[in-house]
Amino acid sequence: MIRIENLETRLSGFNLHSINLSIEAGEFFILMGPTGAGKTVLLEAIAGLVPVRSGRILIGGKDVTRLPPEKRGIGIVYQDYVLFPHMTVMENIRYGLHFHRLGAEETEKRLKGLIGELELMHLVDRIPLNLSGGELQRVALARALMVKPAVLLLDEPLSALDPNFREDIRHGLERIHRSTNTTFLMVTHDFAEALSLGSRGAVMNNGRIEQAGRMEDIFQRPGTPFVADFVGMKNIFEAQFSGSRAVIGGMLEIDMGRQAQGDHGLIAIRPDDITIAREKILSNNKHLFKGTVAAIIDQGFYYEAHVQVGKITFKALVSKRSLFELRLFDGAEVFLSFEANSIHAL
């Protein structure tokens, strides 16, 4: 449905570089990445709102790189709603109809469908000024869907909403995506959202695509150190491989239980896959290392313990409760363990 080939933008500051991406028709595609990675710029480039230096954008097989936004058939919904403030909710929803001639019957059918689906009936005569975030975002969705775009771009549509509204609209998005054959391309920071909505996705960094593919692959088999770190793989080490063994930091030997490719590379372990104990617990398939607590960092709902083993620092998640039960403090001697199948070779 969407094919992007070697896309580069031409903006005065930040730019996209050699973006290649392919999104299937009807797919719910997720775009992730840290702030400033260029996710919004990529959406706007697809919509035709950002100048392109080189490369091509194809939608439904048609090259739209040089087409103005109004000829592309792409809807866009922003985090901050961007409703037309001088129009009522109804006028906002009907805005696109000025430029898409529909029969009266078809118009009524679509209006009724969207207003019902998004529960906007009681709002149609209001102006956007005094509506809540959830209401505004539902109006913005209805406005974009009214003209049946082939592609709907969503720029963090849920991030600004209260958690209970967020859930509502997330289900709304799911329903709408199922009931229309529109291709969805959504930017989000929220991994739960990404995993529940998306079938495939991509991680961006610094104006480039770091990895694209199935959501499970991105989270379970990150392809670059950046993606690993981004999806929460905080333990990334350089390793020398020999057979199924990996040596990290020149001294720690790990059995990965499978053959590695090449003789050196990176391995990654999620911090929640590492267990910390005060006593040595022996187990067959587990790796066990003795180390010293170097730091304990408060992360809100949990703590991140940095454990020094030789030259290497492991980061492990610890709940508040186990922090007290284990009597962890800086300098405490601990044993950390993890299983072979939680080691990811990048």
């Binding site: 005065s12 706007e44 919509a47 035709g48 709102l49 103005p68 936004p69 109004e70 592309r72 792409i74 809807g75 866009i76 922003y78 901050d80 961007v82 037309f84 403030p85 001088h86 805005y95 696109g96 000025h98 430029f99 898409h100 000024l129 005094n130 406005r143 974009a144 003209v147 775009p149």
Partner: protein, 251 residues
């Protein structure tokens, strides 16, 4: 601090109150029947009005461009726009005369077309556009800057062309700023003296007539004309204040 404030207030208000109250009512009435005075005041309004309209038509695309696009030399363009504000007014008149005279090709072209600038209504309007345009550009640019480009982007994505988007989204949201700009431009134009007197002593706009009366007959004879001109300016001033009033949020 309070004292300083009071001094400033008094400094501005006392001379104006004195001016407004000096002429007798009958004197003011009499001035209204003076054809020369009425003609000059109407000419002032007429020329300032045309200057504001021309600034609106000429200035809107540029103001929009400056508000929306970053380009090489943008700061230079913005600097050039501000030049008419800092140049002494008689110099503006002299500069314009230098271009429209017989010694310049533009002047010869204009003469060919039968357009006379020196000593004509056209000349007055040209001068007033020169001094008034920056005020319109600033107000309109600020108005456009306050409208999120995303509103226009969404409008385009929904199928509106660029002009369609301007008339349906940008203009309805920016008209207030544009009107403020038009009024500021007109107010600036109606108070211009130095530049106009160089280019066109006749036909006489109100400030030139006031100057002539003052020179020829003294303070007493210039005051009634001045009062009427001030009233015209005050009307513009109040409309402006009303338009720029902070909008009360409806809750």
């Amino acid at each position: 601090m309070v004292w300083c404030g009071l001094v400033v207030m008094a400094f501005i208000v006392i001379p104006l109150v004195e001016l407004m109250t000096a002429p007798s009512l009958s004197g003011l009435k009499e001035t209204l029947n003076d054809n020369e005075v009425m003609r000059s005041i109407w000419l002032s309004i007429y020329t300032a009005g045309w200057a504001a309209l021309a600034s609106f038509i000429l200035g809107t695309p540029l103001a929009y461009l400056l508000a929306r696009k970053d380009f090489r030399g943008k700061r230079l363009v913005e600097g050039i726009i501000d030049l008419p504000i800092v140049i002494p007014h008689p110099v503006v008149g002299i500069a314009i005369l230098g271009v429209v005279g017989k010694n310049h090709w533009i002047g010869r072209e204009l003469a060919e077309l039968g357009i006379r600038v020196m000593g004509s209504v056209t000349g007055i309007i040209v001068v007033l556009i020169f001094v008034g345009l920056p005020f319109y550009l600033h107000a309109a640019k600020e108005g456009f800057e306050n409208i999120s480009p995303r509103l226009e982007g969404v409008s385009r994505s929904l199928g509106a062309s660029m002009p369609g988007t301007f008339f349906r989204i940008t203009f309805p949201l920016a008209w207030r700023s544009m009107l403020v700009g038009i009024i500021m431009c007109a107010a600036r134009a109606i108070s211009e003296f130095g530049a106009v007197v160089v280019v066109a002593y006749h036909p006489m706009i109100a400030p030139v007539l006031i100057y002539e009366r003052f020179e020829g007959y003294g303070l007493k004879y210039s005051q009634p004309v001045a009062v009427w001109l001030v009233l015209v300016c005050l009307i513009l001033f109040f409309v402006l204040r009303f338009l720029t009033l902070p909008k009360k949020k409806k809750t």
